[in-house]
Symmetry: D2
Subunit: 374 residues, 4 copies
């Protein structure tokens, strides 16, 4: 068995989640490559060293570029804010490193295009680039995709997707970098709207072709130690869409859905079946595909040995959590590298989501007029 | 105690539901006027007579105009398709009869305006006109409105409303008059979209001011004994809206939501609270308005003596059904007539909903551009 | 079509519910006999006359025996407390009147036996006697029975049944006749425990053969205008049982389940399937009977045309309420009378439930020792 | 910061779960002692070595006694079947090692007593012994206990607890050591019944004082490579109980609850409030403790920073899974060792549960007669 040295950039929320994946993937999956937790990069030497110790990384760096120069690092895992993705990912790929990049792929379509170009160049050399839409690796979501692909729903007619959080409901909630267009690209749209766009397309295997959208900022300034700072991104994004397959879709991404903490909800209606999912009950998938006297949505507890990913963990009925998605992602990525197979989701997939987000912004700026993707 | 003679026009689905209300209102409520089930009007003499017997009406007429001429009829209850509403309601009001008219008020804004004018004229003479948005009388919906009015939700930020049915999912489901623009005015939009527009405005006490919408017909022709007939109305309507109070709203009304039989779902997010309702569980209202360690949406079983309407029926925990809304409507209407008080919802309320529907159609015809109401 | 004159005794909670049934059964079902709401009997002349008017009865009597003497009354509907059931029912049957008697059939096994004997005598003369376990007529419960009978669950292994109410949680809740052993026979056991025993046996088609039980009174005296009065019945009954078919069952009936208003919950586990029901969501039946990748409990909304009773009412997805059970009961009783067929549940069924309750009391008095039914 | 060397015995289901805890506790909690994954003991040299590599243990042993002799091991973690617990735990404690022992503490009361004696002896020397009722560390369960302790429920009246699994529903499910009384002590009773007894007592802070119980084996023999082998333990255990605080409790533990995979359900009814929990939705706690117009059970998503354990992980709304309980257990144990504080649950707690199980067996053998605990 061979190994791959991982260099992780960032040790905040996403960095901790990815570390958890690298630490545990070998105990549950038997990936064809064994990951070594080689180095963690962060800006503060002291904080990065402490994080490396706590999270299990063998060394620490204060310059991400150092990772690219290290021979013992073959995979760069990018967990920084979106404004840094393009520079790092392109440099890493060009340096011959495999790349895992958190979503959204970039803050702009142009950046995402450049990154996808770099991924294409790298692919020719057997280098793999994956974007981190981790929710694809929720067993219920992966099962949902399989069921649609098997035709259990017939032709998809409707997608209704919401990503509801509430951490900005309070007008006095503090300003963070996520409210800064320069750093974050957009607000609810890119942060959580990207997830529902990807989930909708992933589950249905269909592609959004045009959107009609609205962005709104309910609270224009927020408190900061330096005084109130302007919020330059959207609090909420609502949009409708049409798909290549002829479905109608509605999307809502908001940070003001009081009482909803992390409610990524998606419901798909097809001509012969339907399914529903809620991230706040992520071990469950609801499916309807019968039409006789006892038809009804059934609650599948997606913890059985024959469910995607679930069999690697615990016996039936023993729930998985949020973080398991990252472990699944790590396992799939390691196998893709080992097999030199195309990773999923690819940078091209991330670019396509970026184009949807850009079209929503464009439509919102044009009175919500229908706007083609691309 | 005095009485009011009721003349009902129509004995299909809505006629049966209204009959149930007139038959039972006196046993549970103590309305200030006692309704007499005086006459039922329908087109077929034989079928109308049989329906009158089954439903408890004392006489039958084959011409609705006969009801207007009868001195023993003081209240006309209109349960015909929408294309007949304007003529009947205006004639009845002008003849000095109180009117209860099923929703949507009319098939066009022009008709609804003429009806509202007639209602205004009649009001000056103490004559009452009410439109039948019966869902306002679901105890959970009425309680929801009270809670918003009490400020339990703070400022409303989001409305997400869906009315999901599935009876047209099958492309071979037969053609009915509801698919004919001449008779029905529109499809899902007017039939069930009208309900969620009214419910959203009723619960929040807020008013939609502009919409961006899309209408879609998935199945263009449907089987009929005379051969396939064209479907000239929408199967599905999706639209977003802004309100006078500054909220963002999303609406979806569809007849192709496989497995959803009658799912009028509405969720309101405010700055300090939220609530959620689903007509498929109509005795429940979900409320969140606390923010401490034990905060969570709570399931209020709206069957307590201090809940709207519920106390008139059974002990706590004994569920009410769909039809009870009509009995509540009858009780409120009888009291409005007795007290010469303004009925709610008024024809003006019905007209406003009609204008929303018209704006959705206009927006849909203009690439989903934001379109003001009126 | 012929008619049957109904004489109702009692106009409190049950009397109102039964009146609702007689008033509406003809509008939804087409029973082979038309019921006439001939007379209402109560103790107070004034209150009975007023109730008769409100509830739709043509006349009022202050002595139930007068009903037995009236030729225009052919059916006696007994809605009095349990201590009066035996005398009235036996006299009515012996007078050649059909009888509908509220549950529990009687306060003692001896009374129930005498009543069953009277029913047997009457049956020989074409007279029908039914006991009012109305929950058998909930569409979801009737469907559940059908599914078990079809073998969808395989062999039943477990029954877990609870009837949870909370109106005696407060130690200061006032004393009523329901807390008096003389009037009520027992407390939670006979009032609501009877319902879960009947429902369990009805759904499974199986019979309890022995029980091990405990009765408990948490609050020994309760306030009354005349001072605190002793509570001589149980607040709560918990018991386990074995069935003829080899299943194990657990039962809990309590009036101290805080926050549960009317939660009759029953879950049946069989070798190949399972089902679950909760009266607080009475339009739903949960069924599991598949065992592949998408197995799960499915929520059947029991409002479809091919569901028991449901087709007579409204379109799919339009909920029924508590009171509809009484209308279904009336329809079935009228048809049984018309067809001279054996009514279900019969007095013998009611007697069997009474024997279960007696065995629970006997076991409770003997340290919860297993006690055979009869 | 100092460290503690851990020696784990067993690498099947529980061994994997405990390994996950030792591997990750440092990344999320900051325990006052750092655990070192020093050695794994198992019977097969080859399988143990492979497991040690996969799970992150630094060395492997084929004799658990070797762990007791190693100076670099200070904590023995026992994940073997119940018949080995007593010998290992007593030897380890007497050798001056801290002990974490999986539940149930032992297969008999006598063994559990001897173990508790050993724990008492060890405690005098600052040695800690904890039994692994991991569900106490579910955030929702820990929160439930806090709420009861705060008096939010008033006086507890009812406990209803079920642990429902279905892996023995099929009569042809294969024989395993869990069906052998010699190895497992009992069946559903000790395996999952122990969990609901502990959870009930932990949440309420109350103690069972007597039980009335029944054990049942539906399938007497099961297939094994050597031919059908007898099942010498119970498939299902149902029992009722009284508590020191005056509550009535019902318990059901079964392996034949078709469709229920891991449904540890517990509902507590108090004089002023109630709560409900289901392990199949382990991030949720349902609480009712208000009594006004908007009273209802509320769904607390137990993922907030101020919820027990939850703040150490992810932002609100990001779910935890089954395995997190073991990490919480490890953190608490490490702190107990560091602080020389009494561990919870102690071996005495485990002994008390064992006595409850023994009393159930005794009652079951005596016609379900009420039997005191001890």
């Amino acid at each position: 068995m061979t190994t791959v040295g991982v260099g992780l950039i960032g040790h905040a929320f996403m960095g901790r989640a990815h570390s958890q994946a690298w630490r545990n993937v070998g105990a549950f999956f038997e990936p064809e490559l064994t990951p070594l937790m080689t180095a963690l990069a962060g800006r503060s030497a002291e904080r990065t060293a402490r994080a490396a110790r706590a999270l299990g990384w063998a060394s620490a760096e204060t310059d991400w570029k150092a990772l690219l120069r290290r021979d013992d690092v073959q995979l760069i895992d990018i967990c920084t804010p979106g404004d840094g993705h393009a520079e790092i990912a392109i440099a890493a790929l060009d340096a011959g490193k495999h790349v895992l990049c958190e979503k959204p792929l970039a803050n702009t379509v142009a950046e995402a295009e450049a990154m996808t170009d770099a991924a294409d160049r790298a692919a020719a050399k057997g280098i793999v680039a994956m974007v981190g839409f981790n929710y694809r690796r929720i067993p219920a979501i992966a099962l949902a995709r399989n069921l649609v692909a098997q035709g259990r729903l017939g032709t998809v007619r409707h997608i209704r997707a919401q990503y509801l959080q509430d951490w900005l409901t309070d007008p006095e909630a503090p300003w963070t970098w996520r409210m800064d267009r320069e750093r974050a690209g957009s607000g609810a749209l890119g942060d959580i709207g990207a997830h529902i766009v990807d989930a909708a397309q992933f589950i249905t295997g269909d592609t959004l072709t045009e959107v009609s959208g609205t962005l709104h900022t309910f609270t224009g300034t927020r408190p900061h130690p330096d005084g109130r700072k302007p919020v330059t991104v959207d609090d909420s994004a609502i949009f409708t869409a049409r798909t290549a397959g002829g479905a109608l879709a509605t999307f809502e991404a908001t940070r003001l859905a009081t009482g909803r903490k992390n409610a990524l909800r998606i419901e798909i209606s097809g001509t012969t079946g339907a399914l529903a999912f809620d991230l706040e009950a992520l071990n469950e998938l609801w499916l309807l595909d019968d039409h006789d006297t006892t038809a009804g949505f059934r609650r599948i507890l997606v913890t059985e040995p024959d469910h995607p990913y679930a069999g690697a963990w615990w016996p039936p009925g023993h729930l998985l959590g949020y973080e398991h998605t990252f472990t699944h992602q790590a396992a799939d990525l390691l196998n893709a590298i080992a097999n030199r197979s195309a990773p999923s989701p690819s940078f091209a997939d991330g670019l396509q989501v970026q184009r949807v987000l850009a079209a929503v912004q464009q439509s919102a700026a044009a009175q919500s007029t229908w706007t083609p993707i691309r």
